[in-house]
C-alpha cells in the first residue's frame, strides 16, 4: 500500500497547529532558538549540504542561491513566493492556512542565515484566507518576540510583512514579483543581474517558494545528513504534491522525491472512476510537458527522472487526465491560459501565445487545416529560449508534447471537424460558448 511520509505535514491534521500555542506545543520555534545560536554561514552550509532544491518550479539548489549574495553589509531582502499561480498547484495555500508559523519560523531562520532585516510574503490576491491567517500569525510572532528587535535576545532584528498580489500569473516569476512589489506592472526583468545581486529596489533579494522556506526549519532540526537521506541522491527530501484532475481522491500528498507516479495515482489517489482509465498526466504543473499513459506508469517523481523523460517536476502539481477527455480541448484550455497571462514585453511570447490560442481554438471549432498541426509545432519552436522570462517556454513545451504524443487526436479533429473522443466541435474561446 502506497503511503505518505508526513514530514512537513506531520501536524497538519491538528487545527491547533495553526495558532502559536498549538504550534509551540508541537515543536514550534524550537529550531529558531537553535538557529540563532549558530553562525549564519553554518546554516547556509547546512542548507547547501541538505540537497534542498527550490520547490517553486526550477528546482535550483537553495544553499547555492543564498551563496550568490554579495559578501558585504549591504541591506538585503528575503521574499517569499506565495503567488501560487501554476495551474494544478494548491499546496502553498494549504501550508499557509494550516501551518502559518511553520513558514514564518522557516523564514526567520533563513533571514538570519542571509543577514536580512526585512522580509515580505507575496501572496496572490485571491488567497484571502491565507492572507488573513498569516496576518494573525505574524502578529502572534511579534508579540512573542520572534519578530522585531533583538529576537530572543540574540541581537538579530527582523521585520516581516505581507504583500497582496492583484491577479497576474506572471508575478509568480521572481523578477515579475519584484516589479510588482515595487508597485509597478508585474513585468519580469532581464537576468542577469539575478535578484540575489540586484532585486527589490535594486538591493540583493532572495526569492524562495513557501515550501522551500518551510523546509529550512527541518534542515536545522534534523541536520543536513538526515534530510539528504530522504528522497533520491540528487533530489533530496520530501515534497508536497498537488494531485488533481480525473482522480478519485484528489488532494495534497507528501512523499519522498523519487516516489512512483503510478503509486500516487492508483495508491494515494485511489485511481479512476469505474470504467475509466489513464490517458495522460501533466506531472509538474501546466508548464510541464505531458506524459502519455505508458510513460506515466514508469515515471518517478524526482527532478532527474522527469527531466530524462522530457518533462519536469516543476511545482509538483500532478494533473491526471482519463480516457474520456479530448486532448485537443485540454491543450486549447492551456494555450488560452498562457495567452491571457503573457505580460506582452517580448514579441515571440506575446505573438506566439496569441497564435497558439487562436490556432488550437480554430481546430476546436472544426475549422482547422492539416497544416495547422505543423504550424503549432513551428510557432512553439520559435518561442523557446528567446525571451526575458520562462513563460514563453512554459507555453510552448506543452504544445509540442501534446501534439507529438496525441497527434492522432489532432489529425482526426482537423480531418473530421470534430473531436475523436467527444464527437463534437466547439465554438468560441470560452467553453461556455462551446456548449451553446
Amino acid at each position: 500500500m502506497a503511503q505518505e511520509t508526513k514530514y512537513l505535514s506531520e501536524f497538519y491534521h491538528l487545527p491547533e497547529f495553526k495558532g502559536l500555542t498549538g504550534y509551540k506545543k508541537n515543536g514550534g520555534y524550537a529550531d529558531l532558538v537553535k538557529a540563532l545560536k549558530m553562525p549564519p554561514q553554518l546554516i547556509i552550509d547546512e542548507v547547501k549540504a541538505s540537497g534542498l532544491r527550490g520547490r517553486g518550479g526550477a528546482g535550483f539548489s537553495t544553499g547555492m542561491k543564498w551563496g550568490f549574495l554579495p559578501k558585504n553589509n549591504e541591506p538585503r531582502y528575503l521574499l517569499c513566493n506565495a503567488d501560487e499561480g501554476e495551474p494544478g498547484t494548491f499546496k502553498d495555500r494549504m501550508m499557509m492556512e494550516k501551518a502559518p508559523h511553520q513558514l514564518i519560523e522557516g523564514m526567520i531562520i533563513s533571514a538570519f542565515a542571509i543577514g536580512s532585516k526585512k522580509s515580505y510574503i507575496y501572496v496572490r490576491g485571491e488567497y484571502d484566507e491565507s492572507i488573513a491567517t498569516l496576518e494573525v500569525a505574524i502578529r502572534e510572532a511579534y508579540t512573542a518576540g520572534y519578530l522585531g528587535k533583538n529576537i530572543l535576545g540574540s541581537g538579530f532584528d527582523h521585520d516581516m510583512d505581507i504583500y497582496r498580489g492583484a491577479g497576474a500569473y506572471i508575478c509568480g516569476e521572481e523578477t515579475g514579483m519584484i516589479s510588482s512589489l515595487e508597485g509597478l506592472k508585474g513585468q519580469p526583468k532581464l537576468k542577469p543581474p539575478f535578484p540575489a545581486v540586484q532585486g527589490y529596489l535594486k538591493k540583493p533579494t532572495i526569492v524562495n517558494n513557501v515550501e522551500t522556506l518551510a523546509v529550512v526549519k527541518y534542515v536545522i532540526r534534523d541536520g543536513a545528513a538526515h534530510y539528504k537521506k530522504m528522497g533520491t541522491e540528487k533530489s533530496a527530501g520530501t515534497k508536497l504534491f498537488s494531485l488533481s484532475g480525473n482522480i478519485t481522491k484528489p488532494g495534497n500528498y507528501e512523499v519522498p522525491l523519487g516516489f512512483p507516479l503510478k503509486d500516487m495515482i492508483y495508491g494515494l489517489g485511489g485511481g479512476f472512476k469505474p470504467g475509466r482509465k489513464l490517458k495522460a498526466v501533466i506531472p509538474g504543473g501546466s508548464s510541464a510537458p505531458v506524459l502519455n499513459a505508458e510513460e506515466s506508469e514508469k515515471a518517478l517523481m524526482d527532478y532527474e527522472n522527469l527531466a530524462q523523460m522530457g518533462s519536469m517536476l516543476g511545482s509538483g502539481a500532478i494533473i491526471v487526465i482519463d480516457d474520456s477527455q479530448c486532448m485537443v480541448q485540454c491543450l486549447a484550455n492551456l494555450t488560452h491560459f498562457y495567452h491571457h497571462e503573457s505580460c506582452g514585453q517580448c514579441t515571440p511570447c506575446r505573438e506566439g501565445t496569441g497564435w497558439l490560442d487562436k490556432i488550437t481554438h480554430s481546430i476546436l471549432s472544426g475549422q482547422g487545416r492539416l497544416q495547422d498541426i505543423e504550424l503549432l509545432l513551428k510557432i512553439s519552436d520559435n518561442m523557446k529560449g528567446r525571451t526575458i522570462c520562462a513563460l514563453s517556454d512554459a507555453a510552448a513545451l506543452p504544445v509540442i508534447s501534446f501534439v507529438t504524443k496525441f497527434r492522432d487526436e489532432f489529425e482526426f479533429f482537423v480531418r473530421e471537424g470534430k473531436s475523436k473522443i467527444k464527437g463534437t466541435a466547439y465554438k468560441g474561446t470560452s467553453h461556455v460558448e462551446m456548449h451553446h
Binding site: F90, G183, I319
Partner: protein
C-alpha cells in the same frame, strides 16, 4: 467626482509609509479605491488616488490596467468567478458556468439587471483538488455541481 472617505484616505496614507518604497503602496491603494467605489475603478478614482498619494496618474493607471483583480467596469454585488482552467474544466467547469449563466439569464461578464450578480470565468485559483470551484467575493466554494452552485447563489440576496 470621487473622494476617498476619511478612513479610506487614512489607510492610503498609512500604506504609503508601510513599505520601503512609496510606489509599493499603489497596489494596496487601488484595492482601497475599488472598495470605496462600489467595486470598480474609474478615471476619477485614479485621479483621487494620484492626488492623495502624490504619484502621477499615468503610473497608477498602468498598474490598474495590468492586474485582473481591479475591475474595469461595474460588477454585481456578488461577483461569481468560475475557474475555467484545466483541472476544473475536466471536472465540469464548463457545465457549471453554462448552468449558472442560464439560470441567471446572463452572458459571461454581464450583470443581472437587478445588479446582484456578474458571472465571469477566471484562471486557476489554486483550488484544483476540489474542482470545479468558484469564488464569490473573497470566498471559495469548492466541489461544486451545477445544482449545488445554484443553491448557494440563490441564498445570496
Amino acid at each position: 467626482m470621487f473622494q476617498l472617505s476619511p478612513e479610506g484616505k487614512e489607510q492610503v496614507l498609512s500604506e504609503l509609509k508601510r513599505y520601503e518604497a512609496k510606489q509599493s503602496a499603489v497596489l494596496p491603494a487601488l484595492y482601497i479605491g475599488q472598495r470605496e467605489n462600489k467595486g470598480f475603478i474609474t478615471p476619477a478614482v485614479i485621479q483621487e488616488l494620484s492626488k492623495v498619494m502624490e504619484i502621477p496618474e499615468s503610473q497608477i493607471n498602468e498598474v490598474f490596467t495590468f492586474y485582473t483583480m481591479y475591475n474595469k467596469k461595474n460588477v454585481g454585488k456578488y461577483h461569481v468567478q468560475i475557474c475555467r482552467t484545466l483541472s476544473c474544466m475536466i471536472n465540469g467547469a464548463d457545465e457549471l458556468a453554462a448552468h449558472i449563466c442560464n439560470e441567471l439569464n446572463v452572458k459571461l461578464d454581464q450583470m443581472t439587471p437587478d445588479g446582484r450578480f456578474t458571472v465571469s470565468e477566471v484562471e486557476c485559483l489554486g483550488s484544483c483538488g476540489t474542482a470545479p470551484m468558484m469564488q464569490i467575493g473573497n470566498k471559495y466554494f469548492e466541489n461544486l455541481t451545477p445544482e449545488s452552485a445554484m443553491n448557494l447563489i440563490r441564498t445570496m440576496k
